[in-house]
Symmetry: C2
Subunit: 216 residues, 2 copies
């Protein structure tokens, strides 16, 4: 890519290209091993331009985490249809989650493997995770209300169930991305079989099965 073409491109577009290259490099190499040279080359720009736009490797990584976390939460929120029963909302949310993590494996690796436990960056991912836990907690509360079982599910039990479900989803997403042929729909169905039938038993004693009308 020549210098003339570089200058014609709006800064916002150029930045997104740099971040695409950065997410791919961070996701595949890890934060420590990823080099700014490689990111610049993959983005088709000079290294000084990456520093000019995104300041430092640390700031670039933070920008990647924010973009990927926002996109993931947005994908899950968009996937859920609010007026459906709680189990169907969870099913749609899980399908959206696993579809997004399957389509963005490097972004998921950045969030789940690279950023979550790296000290200066973990807070960004923790905030995203808490948003998803709160969303799942709300679904369980609504499900309990629908089943008129609120008094049988104390707040702490609901919080624990939401943590378990989110942990299971994280683990399955990493597994599905590392397992050739594992589809997002299969991962979502496995987790519904595992989780909702259990939650459903807690609520009403009946098993959950995926809706026959939904295919992906």
């Amino acid at each position: 890519m020549g210098a003339v073409k570089t200058k014609r491109m709006p800064r916002a577009v150029r930045e997104q290209q740099m971040m695409d290259a950065a997410v791919r490099t961070f996701g595949q190499r890890g934060y420590m091993a990823a080099s700014m040279d490689e990111i610049a080359e993959l983005a088709g720009v000079s290294k000084p331009l990456v520093y000019l736009y995104l300041n430092s490797k640390e700031d670039l990584f933070t920008a990647c985490i924010r973009r990927e976390a926002t996109a993931l939460v947005e994908a899950v929120r968009t996937g859920v249809v609010p007026d459906l029963p709680a189990d169907r909302q969870l099913w749609e949310g899980l399908r959206a989650f696993f579809t997004h993590t399957a389509q963005n494996p490097d972004g998921w690796a950045v969030l789940h493997l690279q950023a979550r436990t790296r000290e200066p960056f973990a807070a960004e991912v923790t905030a995203m995770r808490e948003e998803i836990v709160a969303f799942v907690t709300q679904l369980i509360v609504v499900a309990a209300r629908e089943a008129h079982r609120d008094p049988n599910l104390p707040e702490r039990e609901v919080a624990g169930l939401a943590e378990a479900l989110v942990g299971a989803a994280e683990s399955l997403a990493a597994w599905a991305n590392a397992t050739p042929g594992a589809s997002a729909r299969q991962a979502a169905a496995t987790l519904m079989n595992f989780a909702w039938a259990g939650l459903g038993n807690l609520m009403e004693g009946r098993p959950w099965s995926p809706p026959a009308t939904q295919e992906s």
Copy 2:
């Protein structure tokens, strides 16, 4: 602790004291922020002695990971009684897991938060995690056999269920350690309610409940 007392203590005992101090420091501060000065002071020895015995911060961290991973797997294996039905084996295994992570919060933080995604160390934790996933996979296979449902649970579904269960347990252990008053037994019961009732539905369509005779 004086120099004379130091010299009288066998090397193996001294090393364990250094590793106790290291696990506590790594678990609470994080790998990067932990200093060898602090570890030596907490262990009541000189810093050169830590280097003499355990070579480097990296080697000390690796030794901590190995010790904590071995202890965790050993605790789970010891907790499980092989001749019980699969759901009871899982219940005992989960109780042993959550009891161990509650009693060793710094060791769990080292494994789950510090080591799992840090590039030179992740392989140690991955090996431990794979051993636990294999153990859970085997429990699910046995449960399916007990219910004569093998053909309905293809190998990939079982693998996905095991990954979901382990991810849920990891997430709940971190949550329980961060939540005042959350007990190991409660965490295990929450996960059985969440997971086994679901798995049980997959197998036989009946809910799981904790055995009335078991208290801890």
